[in-house]
């Protein structure tokens, strides 16, 4: 089957489960929103999916992307795109360098440049390739971060509260920007947030992750 599927996933810290076993499915073009209090393991769940779980935690259960078991695959071969609260643009690379970072290797140079420029046009920032990421506005940086993820041609998109740092006016616009692009590319989206407005805008099913850990 296509899309992203999680079955009986549990994360443990020192043997204690952080939340009850979780199963969910996201179809291509669909969005599932995951809500829960901070510290319940939402972000760690995404890290586990990416294969970059903090070594202090242990994960259990299975995850499939387009029918392929993710378990055992190194992070760089999982083809998952992730956006964090912060844009996390690489500070030592130009805007173009950041966008090119995830492009498939082996593309001809002209092709790479064309894709990067097309992504910048898409982000309403034509001609920004040589700019220093630190010189961009918050909205611009967020859009570059999304474009960087999309240029890597992911097969699913993970969103780790990527809208929470933006101010109210910008938040709605960027949310639309992200969700529209995901829908257009028919990517399954797993959205982690604690903002009900995000869930509402996403429109898909909403799961509440109950914390088992006592603070």
């Amino acid at each position: 089957m296509s899309g992203l599927a999680l079955r009986d996933v549990v994360l443990r810290l020192d043997g204690r489960a952080l939340f009850a076993p979780l199963s969910l499915e996201v179809a291509p073009g669909g969005v599932v929103t995951l809500m829960g209090p901070s510290g319940c393991g939402k972000s760690s769940l995404l890290a586990w999916l990416c294969g970059t779980l903090d070594p202090a935690l242990a994960g259990q259960g299975s995850a499939c992307l387009d029918g392929m078991d993710l378990d055992g695959l190194p992070p760089e071969r999982r083809r998952l795109g992730i956006l964090f609260q912060d844009d996390l643009l690489f500070p030592h690379l130009s805007v173009g360098g950041n966008l090119g970072f995830g492009l498939r290797p082996g593309l001809p140079r002209a092709e790479r440049r064309a894709r990067i420029e097309a992504a910048l046009v898409e982000a309403e920032m034509p001609g920004f390739a040589a700019r220093d990421p630190a010189s961009l506005s918050g909205g611009q940086r967020a859009r570059v971060a999304l474009m960087r993820v999309l240029l890597a041609e992911p097969r699913a998109l993970l969103l780790d509260e990527p809208f929470s740092r933006l101010d109210a006016a910008l938040r709605g616009r960027f949310r639309r920007f992200v969700l529209d692009h995901a829908a257009a590319l028919r990517l399954p989206v797993l959205l982690v947030t604690h903002d009900p407005a995000d869930a509402e805008a996403a429109g898909g099913p909403v799961l509440h992750l109950a914390s088992l850990a006592t603070p």
């Binding site: 294969g51 970059t52 992070p75 992730i82 690379l93 993820v149 890597a152």
Partner: protein, 559 residues
């Protein structure tokens, strides 16, 4: 094949500990009479009897304790008072920048400069000579004094900037501003408030560097030879002197003396912590008492460190001045002429020695960087499976007197009939370079946002590409800083070079110390200036290169 996650950490710790442990064994066995190469098998207390018979032993012990504890206490006191008095001044934040030249200067060059400043015929006396009507230097032991006070001060000059640096780093990790605001709203004047609420937290963070300062001050050979008295010398000099005696039997008391120094150092660290605990208790009582007096005293004491730093800078200046001086007799305040004749006359020797110095410093630093990056990266990736707790052991060489294991290492090398040579020198340097490189790199490495790496992974970057394309460039500044520190540490090594190289590997440092026992001060000035110049250039490069490379990257320019 998959390598175990703990391999990089194990490799690093082994690189440091193998020579240390082997060296300790090589010292301890002869100290108790066992050295088959000299036909001594089994154990005996003769080495200790011979050591106790040494007429100057008591004086040597006193000297070591006075200069070791004194230098550490003076450095800490001056740094604490300075921070308390000036933490809210704009100048304070910029301290790191003007500390750089003092941090880069090796101990030896600083000591040579201090000698040129403070000796009876030194610059300070020359300044006063017209006032006092002196036409000859006073017959006063202002250096090499039998109490080791010049040694104490010379050590403090070099250790105070280092303690200030680690204190500044510690300040960044504690909520000092909020604590200060709270304490001041509760009625405490700023300097007192700082001592009461911030200093205890800083102290807890700088304990390891402080212990290293204490161990170095107690165990230093090069500074003791330079600034300490000759007969009797501080304890650390005795084993070296005896070991180099033509009577090989002296190896036994030498080993016993080195063992005594080891025990003394470990006991001193315990004693220091005991005293610190008592002082801490008294301090808490003082903090709780609400007494707010003493601000003026602290402000006054705050000038102690600037005074020390001024002396240190003056020492550096004196080295440079002597290196370009023509004939310069007492009581002339200025050389009869300035020229580069001494530099020119020793050009070839200087070049050869600089090359020999770098031939150790650069590979040792590169190795230390590679081992540190591999270990830190393994810890970042595998967490506990990489055995991060082991890393603490690599700081051990900083807490032991160098003589204690370097002596044994030389005994072992000789016993095995191994030629010291470059590999041995390189490894001995690595033992001291690695802990410092790791110390500089560890914090920035751990502080790096892990999501940066996760983003890169999600974008398809494998571990190697992530390291080379993301982590190393982003961490370029601390990497270069660690490299500069590594080079500075290696360039400054005296005993490690002397013993591991079997006395045959000459560097700027060994050469400068050979000249320091007397000789032409201008030549000594040239060697010391170059010895300081190499690390200084590295520091400057570490400071300027990222600025230039990242001149178009605002995100990396700050900090």
């Amino acid at each position: 094949m998959r390598l175990p996650a703990c391999l990089p950490v194990l490799l690093l710790v082994a690189a440091v500990l193998l020579p240390v442990l082997a060296g300790l064994a090589g010292t301890l066995l002869p100290a108790f009479g066992h050295l088959p190469a000299l036909g001594a098998v089994g154990w005996s207390l003769d080495p200790w009897r011979r050591l106790l018979d040494e007429p100057g032993l008591a004086a040597a012990l006193r000297l070591t304790l006075v200069s070791g504890f004194g230098a550490t206490a003076l450095a800490l006191l001056s740094v604490a008072l300075f921070c308390a008095a000036f933490h809210d001044r704009p100048l304070f934040r910029r301290a790191q920048l003007w500390l750089a030249p003092l941090l880069a200067t090796p101990h030896l060059a600083m000591g040579v400069g201090f000698l040129a400043l403070a000796a009876p015929s030194g610059l300070l006396v020359r300044l006063l000579a017209p006032l006092l009507g002196l036409d000859r230097p006073p017959d006063l032991a202002t250096v090499n004094d039998p109490w080791g006070l010049a040694l104490l001060l010379g050590l403090a000059l070099k250790e105070a900037p280092w303690l200030l640096l680690v204190s500044l780093a510690a300040l960044n990790q504690i909520p000092a501003a909020r604590l200060m605001a709270t304490a001041r709203l509760l009625g405490q004047p700023a300097p007192v408030a700082w001592l009461k609420v911030v200093f205890p937290l800083v102290y807890r963070q700088i304990r390891l560097p402080l212990h290293a300062v204490l161990a170095y001050s107690l165990g230093t050979v090069e500074m003791a030879l330079l600034l300490g008295p000759g007969s009797p010398p501080p304890l650390a000099v005795l084993p070296v002197r005896w070991f180099l005696d033509r009577d090989l039997g002296m190896t036994f008391p030498a080993a016993a003396a080195a063992t005594l120094l080891l025990v003394l150092t470990l006991a001193a660290i315990l004693l220091w912590e005991g005293a610190a605990a008592l002082a801490g208790r008294a301090g808490r009582r003082w903090a709780a008492s609400g007494v707010a007096a003493g601000a003026r005293l602290v402000r006054l004491g705050g000038w102690l460190l600037p005074l020390l730093l001024l002396l240190a800078l003056g020492s550096l200046g004196a080295v440079l001045l002597w290196s370009v001086a023509g004939p310069w007799r007492f009581p002339d305040l200025w050389p009869r002429r300035l020229d580069f004749a001494t530099w020119a006359a020793h050009r070839e020797g200087l070049l050869a020695l600089a090359e020999a110095t770098l031939r150790v410093a650069l590979p040792a630093t590169a190795l230390a960087l590679a081992l540190s990056v591999a270990a830190l990266e393994a810890v970042a990736r595998h967490g506990r499976a990489a055995w991060p707790w082991l890393l603490g052991l690599s700081y051990l060489p900083l807490l032991l007197p160098q003589t204690a294991f370097l002596l044994g290492l030389q005994v072992l090398l000789l016993q095995l009939g191994l030629d010291g040579g470059l590999p041995a020198v390189l490894w001995a340097h690595l033992v001291f370079v690695l802990p410092y490189v790791l110390l500089v790199l560890a914090a920035p490495w751990e502080a790096l946002d892990p999501r940066l790496a996760r983003s890169a992974a999600a974008l398809g970057a494998g571990p190697l590409r992530m390291l080379c394309m993301v982590k190393l460039p982003v961490l370029l500044r601390p990497l270069l800083a660690a490299a500069a520190v590594g080079v500075a540490v290696s360039v400054g090594q005296y005993l490690a070079t002397l013993f591991a190289g079997g006395g045959r590997y000459a560097t700027l440092t060994t050469e400068a110390l050979a000249l320091a026992s007397g000789g032409d001060r201008r030549v000594l000035g040239v060697f010391a200036a170059l010895q300081a110049g190499i690390p200084l250039a590295c520091y400057a490069l570490a400071l300027l290169l990222p600025r230039w490379l990242w001149r178009r990257r605002a995100g990396l320019r700050a900090a």
